[in-house]
Amino acid sequence: MAQTQILNRRIRSIKNAKQITKAMEVVAASRMRRVQTAVGYSRTYAEMAASIIRRVAPSEEAKHHPYFKKVSDPKRLYIIFTSDRGLAGAFNSNIISTATRSFVEDMASGKSPSVVVFGRKGARFFAKLEDIDLIGNYEDVADSPEANVFGSVLETIDSGLASGQFNTVNLIYTEFVSTLNQRIRNDQLLPISLSEQESTQLKIVFEFEPSMEEVLEEAIRLYFESQLIGARTESAASEYAMRMIAMGNANRNAGDIIDGLTLELNATRQAAITQEIAEITGGASAIAG
């Protein structure tokens, strides 16, 4: 009898876990759908910002601007997007392994990378790493943030470039391709390089007001913001998609375990009944004999 009690208890606790995973799956699914529309918006915005950058990039002012200057000896700053919460499958470990692989490459050529990280999970991990310079971490950033959230990151980039701490900026985040497919991106944000083909196609001569410098400043700000907002929203959508899938799997696993345990429970209960009957019939035949 003791055996069936233990099994009952285990089944009950797994049923609880199953309910929790179900709830998390549903929540992640609904959040993902909401963030998906924001991903669409941020892509349109980023495309337009890039098209404006392409118009200003061929100008003389842009060629001498520190953000456009090509570098031969890259010292990198990585801006990495992880999540605040876990239980999202391989979401954070994928990002972290891509990042550490890049760090190893940099260190092989004798340079220590600088890092700005978004998300609690990444912050915890990179704080423990030696040989990297963690110059900023941000937690509890909205899924689809306002542009001014990134103001301090832009300042960090500006001052780091000016002091020569780094001359290249990479963006590591998870791109949302579809619910079942997310891709890790490691894109170069700085120096801004757009393919030659795209910039020579344009024939219209534009007038710049009030001055090329001011247009350039504004265009660069919009471009950075659009890239960072894009990376954050894509990451958020991917995180929810991966959590939805992970929780779906966990939910199915829990169901399988409950099925197995129920079979075992029935078998032990039946064994106990059979044993009792055998004892009774044994006793009865002893008395009759």
Binding site: T44, N148, E155, E209, E218, A219
Partner: protein
């Protein structure tokens, strides 16, 4: 007609043909009509006003508050890209006034050049929002 697009981080806020569009830029407010010379200009915080058809009265113009951005014009079409766009449906006068008061407070207490610049941008933006809210009130009367 000029095809005008107003795009913010929260989506496309306006995408239609217009007769005249008033744009706040750092060199002052400009009016865009069809066949405007190709232009890229830095936008300033302020109000964008759109007259959809020739002969529409000022009262029927559509207004948006923007926080700055970049305008790109190439004759037949114009695109304004801004990180923050507020439509007249999204603001109400009390909230806008409260935001303006907050922004004024920030300008007063700003420490350092960067903070002051940010606070001033916010001040301009919230006063533009208040303007849009007032336009709406007039419109509904």
């Amino acid at each position: 007609m000029l095809h005008f697009q107003l795009v913010s981080t929260k989506g496309v806020k306006f995408d239609d043909d217009a007769y005249e569009v008033l744009i706040p830029t750092k060199a002052g407010t400009i009016a865009l009509f069809e066949d405007h010379m190709p232009l890229i200009s830095a936008g300033a915080p302020g109000t964008i006003s759109i007259r959809k058809k020739l002969g529409d009265s000022d009262g029927s113009m559509e207004h948006f508050a923007v926080s700055g951005g970049v305008i790109q014009v190439d004759g037949k079409s114009a695109k304004f890209l801004s990180d923050e766009v507020t439509t007249s449906e999204e603001v109400n006068e009390q909230e806008a006034e409260a935001a303006l008061a907050r922004a004024k407070e920030l300008v007063k207490n700003a420490s350092g050049q960067v903070a002051l610049h940010e606070a001033k941008q916010m001040l301009h933006h919230s006063s533009a929002q208040l303007n849009v809210a007032k336009f709406k009130k007039r419109h509904h009367r």
